[in-house]
Amino acid sequence: MTELLDLYRTMVRIRAFEDAAEAASQGGVTWGGAATGKASEVRVKGPLHLSTGQEAVAAGVCQHLGPRDLLTSTHRGHGHTLAKGADATRMMCELFGRASGYNGGKGGSMHIADFSVGMLGANGVVTAGLPIAVGAAHALKLQAQEAIAVSFFGDGAINRGPFLEALNWAQVYHLPVLFVCEDNRISATTRSAPMTAGTQAASARAESLGIPATRVDGNDVEAVSSAARRLVAEIRAGGGPRLLHALTYRQKGHVSVDPATYRDPQEVAEALKDDPIARARECLHARGLTEQAERIEAEARQEIESALAAASAAPVPQAADAYTDVVTIGEGAWK
């Protein structure tokens, strides 16, 4: 009963963060990339990939991870980062390009990360997180640590070569890694199904390598959590890699300024009815937890408003900061 409240809190916090980031990103550029003349007023600039509608996957999986577990994510990584334990204010500062952001303003949304809680980074390259997670898992195993590695990726990622390489690697070295496919049915702006061979391809491809895979309704946060609990326990017990194939839906466009008019309106309407947060809220109502749910919603709003205010007031990096953290040898030899 309390677990659903925890999961709900994570999802609501992610939704509040995504909604606030989305609003802060509007008006600077058009989907075609042209500047509108208001670009200087826009606080979150650049590509902003929202996970709105996919919150249940991040919440359900990260519910079973601790700060020592290592996570790699995708370009759509705000939800994973928050769910892994990062601070919303420092995340918002990073999106605003502020010196107090997690990356000191050097990364932005696509590279959001909090290494201190084991979140090793969102990534601007599709599939890139998988080999990194596999290497992290390999290191954990060699160092006899109990932690595991987890890699989130989308359905588009399974058509890149490193997906096969990383899964094969995880299996042959019997590594403690959970692969999580967030199957939102779309690769950037193109439907994935017509360009992906086979059915249920993410799980089927894992199974073809002998990696046990579990399919789950990725908009049912309790189902995700239940599956993840079992898979994480199996991995911690030395069972080797597992894959979780979560079916979900990306409610927004590829980036925040993409109106996603290329989608079938009927499909979108159906998907919005299947919103994971609305579903969880109904469960909470049915279990007599309405009051608690409302308190969680109010707290999330307050948390994100506070994050927005802090990010707006935070200082930007100095130009000289552009030259730090490149390489130590030869520092200063850039110009």
């Binding site: 990356n103 990364g107 990360a113 596999v134 953290d325 390489v327 850039w334």
Partner: protein
């Protein structure tokens, strides 16, 4: 167990690297190596101790890891291992194959420290053997040092002698940032004395000292250094005195030493095996011209793939004769 100071001994270029790695692995349990065919000592025997044991035999297959033919994941996993506390030495077999791992090297390893705001570092050494290797043709012969010198976040090293292959690999392992370590495939068997003074990254070596009044400075690296030294001897016999500098580290390169020598001699010739067009020699020559006003010239391979037949391959090789001719042209002779 810690590494102890070593008495100088004669080793091959391959053995020198193996010894450096062996000592680093003895000194730190965090150092591991991985790549294709490492179990049997590496495809060129560069993971075999001077006594002939494979490093896998010495340290176990957990620390000297035989991998699938998965370059992208060898490199990508190296990044993940580094972030999780290890110091991986990543073997790419030949530099040409590292192109299958270019995202993992350029977008991931090189960018990690910067784009995550210094939250982590990637102390990874990627070994990318370069160079023409008799009759190995277009996909096993390339020298890509300029590609990686162009990428912020990478250190690029190209040793030319056994002593440097020992010293520079040790320095690379201690560097803390990703290093693209480029050994030359036709130098594996070269013998030399190893174990003298430590070698620093970013410092060149005087490979041939000219008479007091040098006529020109020749800058080179990797195998081509040896041809330059031979050419310098031929030039000396013709009354032309050349100082040959072995760059050793391509990035960050030893500008101070190169500028000082070029300013002294007034002439710079840069020689490399890589294709001359957009090669790293252009960077060296342009910098010297901008800062010293010295006359500069470059000598590299023509912009053709390396051919298989010896008559074709020879067109991509830089001979002592060409170096002598280029030096004489620079002197107006």
């Amino acid at each position: 167990m810690t590494a102890t100071a070593m008495q100088p001994r004669t080793l091959t270029y391959a053995q020198a690297a193996a010894l450096a790695l062996q000592e680093a692995m003895q000194a730190s349990p965090h150092v591991i190596a991985m790549g294709e065919d490492l179990g049997r000592g590496g495809v060129f025997g560069q993971y075999r101790t001077p006594e002939g044991r494979t490093l896998a035999d010495v340290f176990g297959t957990d620390r000297v890891i035989d991998t699938p033919i998965s370059e992208a994941t060898i490199m990508g996993a190296g990044v993940g291992m580094a972030l999780a506390g290890l110091q991986p030495v990543v073997e790419m077999r030949v530099a040409d194959f590292a192109l299958c791992a270019i995202d993992e090297l350029v977008n991931q390893a090189a960018k990690n420290r910067y784009m995550f705001g210094g939250q982590g570092r990637v102390p990874l050494v990627a070994r990318l053997p370069i160079g023409i290797w008799t009759a190995s043709a277009a996909q096993h012969s390339q020298s890509f040092e300029s590609w990686f010198a162009h990428v912020p976040g990478l250190v690029v090293v190209a040793p030319s002698t056994p002593a440097d292959n020992y010293g520079l690999l040790k320095a690379a392992l201690a560097c803390g940032d990703p290093v693209v370590y480029m050994e030359h495939k036709e130098l594996w068997g070269l013998q030399g004395e190893v174990g003298g003074t430590p070698v620093e990254l970013g410092k060149c070596r005087v490979a041939h000292q000219s008479a007091a009044s040098g006529d020109l400075t020749i800058v080179s690296w990797s195998r081509q250094v040896h041809a330059c030294v031979d050419a310098a001897h031929q030039l000396a016999a013709q009354g032309i005195h050349a100082e040959v500098l072995d760059l050793r580290t391509i990035w960050p390169w030893d500008r101070e030493a190169v500028l000082a020598s070029s300013a002294r001699t007034g002439r710079l010739l840069v020689v490399h095996e890589a294709v001359q067009a957009a090669g790293f020699g252009a960077e060296v020559a342009a910098t010297v011209a901008e800062h010293t006003g010295a006359r500069v010239a470059r000598l590299g391979a023509p912009r053709i793939p390396v051919g298989y037949a010896q008559t074709l391959e020879a067109e991509s090789r830089i001979s002592e004769t060409q170096i002598v001719q280029a030096a004489r042209r620079l002197l107006g002779k």
